[in-house]
């Protein structure tokens, strides 16, 4: 007799005292088939809680006997309570537990069966059916005999109960009359675990799109071998998330393909809703084959016509074998440590690595909450409860793009609906896709079309208002607190351009991480260059920093393109770094129309095959946006300072020749007067009259995205060259001067350039690593550092900031919070644009924008 113990689960031994349960288990432990920690014995627990294994009340006078009996009962109760919680804990942790007790009564067994079901564990019964004389003989020989009467009583109960055990809900029941005839084995590895060491390519829902599937395998590097099996030269294997059949044209071929590859051990396939339905149909159950399953039936009928019934029966039985053994999910491991989960429709964290009917059900259908009016299941978002960091790879519910959400990734891109077939390569975590040759399903409610129609639906406020987390590709998770989320929602509800159009908020930028080592500078390029060198980046770009107002320009090829992207017919929009309209409506129309005309005339949209261009820019002059600020603060302060200092200078001048000791004050006021004049000049450099739009300048510095791609992997030289091209297309666009830093000479060159420029009153430069997005050791570093000029800084830190005593104190500034925010906002900005370009839902790109606004609500020294 052969018994295979499960990797994890609950095993009940059943049999009267003296059946040899403990002895047998000890043998198994000795033979290292099971571990001592896997055995839980009621006798042991009685000893643990009550110091004794057994209390004998026989032969005592009735009053004593009663008392002893009650004590024994109490000990038993406590022992079983403790045992139960241990068994439960082990079950939750997916461990094997073998319970050594008599389990004679149905109620004893039921308790464990229920526990096992509740915690998704298999439950086995090993029934030891030993003849009564042997039991009595053994009892006589033991240290604390239970007594013939009790043994006989137990045998009576056992004989009555053993007939019903099989119907009690055990996954397996083995009746053993002689343990020496039993060969026990156990699974040492979780059968759901798959080593990903050689690489696994996880394939989304194929739905009979066999041609696309083969094309995908070839793109992944699989080649047919002599036996026609697709193998990978590096030993990678592929794993289907299920739903390989139905809806599409070639279900049978796809299934046959999997039968051969799964049986050869070079592929895996997971259970799924369609797979389960087909299996039950094959098993002759009464199921209605619809939702594309009827096509499978048709294919099978055709097959039978062509190949005959024998071949069909053979195929059917191997199909059944494949489908029946398809697990609910797989756990991918690295060095035997679980790191990812593959599942068809969804999973709960507590299900991972376990097997049960409920788990299979959940994994096939996801978290469904009844059906809607049209009879379609209402799918709840199971991903929100996923708390662990294990990556869950899933399909089932088509999304237009692979969707990463809360440590999950959906890779069903609806190939059968005319989308793509996706492979997710693990552990590399890269995506390979094949376009569908056509929309095979031809259904009225094509999910990709439905999703597209709902793309710009208003975001769900419940997901945002209590604080939330954005999963960014560049920086990982970024948390938004409730305190900053609420005012940001208020902001976009009142002041910004509509949510649909607000696709990006530019990140804040840190100044030099350390103050200048030079005595009379607060900021200097040296510290920015040093920051990047410390991170091992030597090729840098220095771009002139324009002093105007930051602006985002989203310019469309035509109004149709705008409607497709943002749901409104327009040629373009321009908004500020806080999301507000940059210009009044008429002026915006004028500027946008002109830019549109120029870009169209120069074939911008056709050359780059794009529906839109998203630009990050500075718009000059400063007074366009800052008129009130300049009038009420800068101009006013300059006037006050000049009048104050001039008056004082005159008074002191008239006294300097006859009032003793006043020379110092006079010198001081002269110096301060000069500083006030510098201040007045500094801010006026950035202002000029704007009578018509020709005196406006737009200096783009990043071409963030086109409709089909983002440009975060491009170098800044590429961005600069694009800006040069734009400047050639329209005079409103201003190309930005820049220099490359590669070595000491070019660094010195940049420093000289910076000095010259800032002495002229220009704001300064921005130093960036060569590439738009740069990571060092997997960590994002500052994408840009601003180095502002000495004169310019007087409008930030005050006209007297360079006085040694002031500068000494100002150099104690701390930029760490600013840097932290700069990185987060940078990552959020890229993430939002990526989602917008990938045509994800408004809710998805809005959450990034809202998060950036929330970051901007954090209190930070505004002078940084």
């Amino acid at each position: 007799m052969h018994i295979q113990l499960p990797y994890a689960g609950i095993v009940l031994l059943i049999g009267p005292s003296n059946s040899g349960k403990s002895t047998w288990l000890n043998q198994l432990i000795e033979n290292e088939i099971i571990r001592p920690s896997e055995v839980v014995s009621s006798d042991d627990y009685r000893k643990l809680v009550g110091d004794v294994e057994h209390i004998d009340w026989k032969g005592h006078p009735p009053d004593e006997a009663d008392s002893l009996f009650e004590t024994y009962q109490d000990i038993s109760t406590e022992a079983f309570a403790l045992m139960t919680s241990l068994i439960e804990a082990r079950a939750r942790l997916n461990k094997l537990t073998i319970i050594d007790a008599t389990h004679l009564y149905a109620s004893d067994r039921k308790k464990h069966i229920e526990l096992a079901h509740r915690l998704h564990q298999p439950v086995y019964a090993l029934v030891l059916d030993i003849a009564q004389p042997i039991l009595l003989e053994r009892d006589r020989l033991r240290d604390f005999p239970r007594g013939g009467r009790r043994v006989k009583q137990q045998v009576q109960v056992f004989n009555r109960e053993k007939r019903t055990i099989k119907r009690e809900g055990f996954d397996q029941v083995h009746v053993i009359s002689d343990v020496s005839q039993v060969n026990v084995e156990r699974e040492n590895m979780n059968p759901l675990h798959l080593s990903s060491e050689r690489g696994i390519d996880v394939i989304g829902d194929i739905h009979g799109c066999f041609d696309e599937f083969l094309e995908l395998l070839e793109r992944l590097g699989y080649c047919p071998n002599d036996e026609g099996l697709y193998v990978h030269p590096e030993g990678r294997i592929f794993l289907s998330l299920g739903d390989v059949m139905s809806r599409g044209p070639k279900s049978l071929e796809t299934i046959e393909f999997f039968i051969r590859h799964v049986e050869a051990g070079i592929a895996h396939m997971i259970d799924s809703n369609h797979g389960w339905k087909v299996l039950r149909w094959l098993e002759g159950r009464n199921v209605t084959m619809k939702h594309g399953d009827e096509l499978f039936v048709e294919e099978l009928q055709m097959y039978e016509k062509q190949k005959g019934s024998d071949a069909t029966e053979a195929l059917k039985s191997s199909m059944k074998r494949l489908l029946k053994h398809a697990p609910s999910h797989y756990v991918l491991t690295k060095q035997a440590i679980p790191t990812a989960v593959c599942v068809h429709a969804g999973i709960r964290d507590e299900f991972i690595g376990k097997t049960s009917r409920d788990i299979s059900d959940f994994c096939r259908y996801g978290d469904n909450e009844g059906f809607d009016e049209a009879g379609k299941p209402i799918r709840k978002d199971w991903t929100v409860q996923h708390k662990s960091k294990t990556l869950i790879i899933w399909g089932h519910d088509p999304r237009p793009r692979p969707l990463r959400l809360n440590h999950t990734i959906n890779i069903d891109q609806g190939v059968v609906f005319g989308g793509q077939l996706t492979a997710f390569r693990y552990p590399e975590q890269t995506i390979v896709q094949v376009e569908a040759k056509q929309d095979y399903a031809q259904v009225d409610d094509n999910p990709l079309v439905t999703l597209e129609a709902k793309r710009l639906d208003p975001p769900n406020i419940g997901k945002l208002m209590n604080g939330y987390t954005v999963d960014t590709e560049a920086f990982g998770e970024i948390h938004v607190s409730k305190e900053t989320a609420l005012p940001s929602i208020d902001l976009v509800s009142h002041y910004t351009v509509p949510l649909e159009e607000l696709v990006y908020i530019p990140p804040t930028m840190s100044p030099t991480p350390k103050p200048s080592a030079e005595e009379d500078y607060l900021e200097h390029p040296n510290e920015a260059i040093a920051y990047y060198r410390e991170h091992g980046i030597t090729r840098l770009i220095a771009e002139k920093k324009h002093m105007g107002s930051r602006a985002i320009l989203l310019l469309f090829k035509n109004e149709d393109a705008a409607e497709k992207a943002i749901g409104r017919r327009t040629k373009g929009i321009i908004y500020t770094r806080s999301g507000r309209k940059f210009f009044e409506r008429e002026q915006e129309n004028e500027i946008v129309s002109r830019l549109h005309q120029s870009l169209t005339t120069h074939d911008y949209f056709t050359t780059y095959q794009t529906d839109f261009v998203l630009l990050d820019a500075e718009i000059l002059p400063w007074n366009l946006k800052a008129r009130e600020l300049i009038r009420n603060q800068y101009a006013h302060v300059a006037e006050q300072a000049l009048l104050d200092r001039k008056q004082l200078q005159q008074t002191l001048e008239s006294a300097v020749d006859h009032v003793e000791g006043i020379q110092d004050w006079f010198t001081e006021v002269n110096q301060k007067l000069k500083q006030a004049e510098t201040f007045k000049q500094a801010f006026q450099t950035y202002c000029w009259d704007v009578e018509e739009i020709d005196s406006i300048q737009i200096a783009p510095f990043h071409v963030l995205a086109h409709s089909e791609e983002t440009f975060f992997n491009q170098s800044h030289e590429w961005h600069m060259s694009m800006n040069q091209k734009l400047a050639e297309m329209d005079d409103l666009f201003l190309a930005t001067d820049y220099k490359i830093i590669e070595d000491t000479d070019s660094a010195n060159d940049v420093i000289e350039w910076w000095k010259m420029m800032t002495e002229d009153g220009h704001e300064g430069i921005v130093i960036k690593p060569e590439r738009f997005m740069t990571k060092v050791d997997g960590k994002l570093i500052q994408p840009a550092i601003k180095v502002r000029g000495r004169k310019y800084l007087s409008i930030i830190y005050g006209m007297d900031y360079l006085e040694p005593d002031n500068l000494k104190r100002l150099k104690k500034r701390n930029v760490s919070k600013k840097q932290k925010l700069a990185l987060r906002e940078f990552a959020l900005g890229m993430e939002g644009i990526k989602r917008f370009v990938h045509r994800e839902s408004l809710e998805r790109y809005h959450e990034c924008v809202l998060a950036t606004l929330a970051m901007e609500a954090e209190p930070v020294d505004p002078r940084l």
Partner: protein, 448 residues
């Protein structure tokens, strides 16, 4: 910030005793990093010229500023303009003179008037030259100004924002200084410290003997005490503006109309006030019987706090059903708002860009699907009656619709989502222009 005092005539040299300052020495005193300085430019028997000035520490000044997360707190006029900061920094230096407590042998000179020129500034004031004259001329000064050059070349039309004030007249030193201590903060655009009852006490002390009879007394008090609550300690406000009453009346009529309409609905268990603001309508709904739950939805935390206070005030009334304040916005979806009986958009839509309205209506009528929806908005035609030619009634209005525009919009929406729509007007009716407010009542059609 500076103050020069020039005095001519007999005995002016006693001023050094009244100020308790040695005319041969420079005076410098450090007040929290700010340097208070003084020197005598002239000290003769019949001609004295003394200047006080402050060299502030700008970093110290901005550090104590409440708005430290705003760039304007670092670039501001407080280090230059004479203000209450100047007054308090000079408080010690001028203490003897302000209190009129020189050495006993000079006490007799405290009330002695001298012919004086006081030059103080620069001042940062929204008051016109004329208004400033009206403050000082009644006190017997001749008033002159020294203007700055324009600070900002692009803004030529603007009035210059810095002036030095020159006062000439026959006055005692103590009176002159006390008058400046009261009137400098009055002229200045803002105060640097919190204004409370102590300020009232200071006004009484420094204003003694001149403020009560000043023709601008009430203006001076109002300016000096800024906050209504403090001002009330001195004087009651009496004026109310007439047009405001009108607007108030229209608001009330609007609320009453909506309340009456809600009251007449048979299904009104759940009522949602979208864009509830400070809760004026919602708290009135709290007195309507037959409503189980009132949701007052609003995205502004400030408005919601105001609304909560309003509800609390009513809470003592047992018939009051306090509305539930809910954070929410018309540009998002909130599943909790599905299935309400009544929804109200009272003077909300005109604050939303016109091209965003259809989508918002889709959320309301297609997703939330209340049994009844009320929408009110201004009737633009009626602006004629108010004498508003092309401007809107409120600067935040993004549009105002005529009656036909509103009706056509509402009927389109009703048609799209299976509602019927009726219209009425609120407020005084005009034969040509109708009523100032228009109201649409959407009723969901019964699905058979």
């Amino acid at each position: 910030m500076q103050l020069s005092i020039q005095a001519k005539g007999k005995h002016v040299d006693v001023l050094s005793y009244l100020l308790a300052k040695n005319p041969n020495n420079l005076y410098e005193r450090n007040e929290n990093g700010h340097l208070v300085r003084m020197f005598f430019n002239r000290f003769e028997a019949e001609h004295v010229d003394v200047t006080f000035f402050v060299t502030p520490d700008p970093i110290e000044l901005s550090r104590n500023n409440a708005g430290q997360y705003d760039i304007t707190s670092y670039i501001n006029d407080r280090e230059f303009a004479v203000s209450s900061i100047f007054c308090s920094l000079l408080r010690t230096a001028l203490g003897t003179a302000l209190n009129g407590k020189p050495k006993p042998e000079y006490t007799e000179w405290v009330d002695h008037p001298f012919s004086m020129d006081l030059s103080v500034g620069p001042i940062a004031s929204a008051l016109s030259d004329e208004a400033i004259r009206e403050l000082f001329e009644p006190l017997g000064y001749q008033v002159d100004f020294i203007y700055s050059e324009s600070g900002y070349e692009l803004d030529k039309t603007k009035r210059r924002s810095a002036r030095m004030l020159r006062l000439s007249g026959l006055t005692t030193l103590q009176a002159a200084l006390r008058q400046l201590y009261v009137l400098i903060p009055v002229m200045d655009n803002y105060k640097h410290y919190y204004i409370d009852e102590k300020e009232v006490e200071k006004l009484k002390r420094y204003g003694e003997g001149w403020l009560d009879d000043h023709p601008q007394r009430s203006f001076i008090l109002k300016q000096a005490l800024r906050f209504k609550e403090v001002y009330r300690l001195v004087e009651e406000e009496t004026t109310t503006q007439a047009p405001k009453v009108d607007r108030q009346r229209l608001n009330d009529m609007r609320y009453e109309t909506i309340i009456e309409k809600v009251r007449s609905l048979t299904e009104r268990r759940i009522v949602v006030d979208m864009g509830a603001g400070e809760g004026k309508l919602a708290s009135r709904l709290g007195f309507v019987p037959g409503i189980d739950t009132i949701y007052a939805v609003e995205p502004s935390e400030r408005e919601r706090l105001k609304a909560l206070k309003r509800y609390e005030k009513n809470a003592e009334d047992p018939s009051f059903n306090p509305p539930l304040s809910m954070f929410g916005s018309l540009f998002y979806v909130d599943d909790q708002l599905r299935g309400a009986d009544v929804m109200i958009l009272c003077e909300v839509i005109e604050h939303i860009d016109e091209n965003r309205i259809p989508k918002m209506m889709t959320t309301l009528l297609n997703l939330y699907r209340p049994k009844t929806l009320f929408v009110t908005t201004p009737n633009r035609e009626y602006n004629e009656v108010y004498g508003l030619d092309s401007s809107y009634r409120h600067p935040d209005h993004r549009f105002e619709w005529t009656r036909s525009e509103f009706i056509s919009f509402c009927e389109t929406q009703a048609e799209r989502f299976g509602y019927t729509c009726t219209f009425s007007g609120i407020g005084d009716s005009h034969p040509t222009f109708g009523e100032p407010t228009q109201l649409a009542e959407f009723t969901r059609k019964q699905v058979l």
